[in-house]
């Protein structure tokens, strides 16, 4: 659980920025080099590298340098901690509303009896 908490602090900081969210979305489709990742944003490389650094510190991505090319990869398990909570909420609401459906059906029965 400690690991989850630590990851979440950084995950939410990392996801608060649109450039970084785009990078995450792109990496969801597969690993990519920093050069390819930076291209759509029109940022200078130093600025872009700062975003990459934040993402690495958050644990959302990892990077590896082979020769002169640094390649980034999404680490899904840390994104999953946040997703899990939302999934729990969704299931809770779904169950709650199934209960409400049943209740409404019963109440309509009671009404027509009266």
């Amino acid at each position: 659980m400690e690991n989850h908490s630590l990851a979440l602090n950084n995950v939410f900081h990392a996801l608060a920025d649109p450039t970084r969210r785009s990078v995450i979305a792109r990496l969801g489709r597969g690993s990519a080099s920093i050069k390819d990742l930076a291209e759509p944003f029109g940022l200078g490389l130093p600025s872009f590298l700062k975003h990459i650094k934040v993402l690495e510190l958050s644990g959302l991505i990892a990077s590896e340098k082979v020769g002169r090319v640094r390649t980034c990869t999404l680490k899904r398990e840390n994104l999953a901690a946040a997703e899990t909570w939302f999934e729990q909420q969704r299931l809770a609401w779904q169950s709650r509303y199934d209960n409400l459906d049943d209740l409404l059906t019963n109440l309509k029965g009671e009404e027509s009896e009266n």
Partner: protein, 166 residues
């Protein structure tokens, strides 16, 4: 699940909101009653397998509902819903918070704002609930709590989900 197609659950991480939409096969007055009368709330508000127990209900602007969600084991989770604006049978807003069984709020945990709207759709009723947290930090805090004390989760379910995401 006959009604699943009518259920929408949208997360906006940037704005720290969750929007839940659902259509019910009942007229608006009845659905409104289910949301605002404690004897009816007690019959549906807690997700299975928990049950809802009301300690007090004062449904007016400035009033609050003090309730517990109770696990089959008897473990109680207390909450209070403080009503801010009420426009029968269209809309209400409330502050949801964690508290103890006397209604004293837990100041360490953030509160969320509920914005609940009821709309006629033919003979049915659509309910939209927007749950907002004050900040990404506040949302993150309840996420952490949810991971530790999740009301509905089991570790098995977490394992299964992580397996599908990995």
């Amino acid at each position: 699940m006959k009604t699943d197609a009518l259920f929408d659950f949208l997360v906006d991480k940037e704005k720290s909101t969750i929007t839940i939409q659902r259509k019910f096969a009942a007229r608006r007055q009845l659905v409104w009653d289910c949301y605002t009368k404690s004897e009816l709330l007690d019959r549906w508000f807690a997700p299975k397998p928990l049950t809802t127990k009301t300690r007090s209900m004062d449904f007016r602007e400035g009033g609050h509902w003090l309730y517990a969600m109770v696990e089959p084991s008897g473990q109680e989770y207390w909450g209070r819903m403080d009503y801010q604006t009420i426009r029968p049978i269209d809309h209400y807003t409330a502050l949801d918070g964690f508290c103890d069984n006397t209604g004293a709020l837990n100041p360490a945990l953030p509160r969320s704002t509920w914005n609940v709207t009821f709309l006629d759709v033919g003979t049915q009723t659509r309910v939209e609930t927007v749950v907002s947290y004050a900040s990404a930090e506040a949302l993150e805090q309840v996420i952490q709590m949810g991971l530790q004390d999740g009301l509905t989760s089991t570790l098995e379910r977490l394992d299964e989900l992580l397996a599908t995401l990995n």
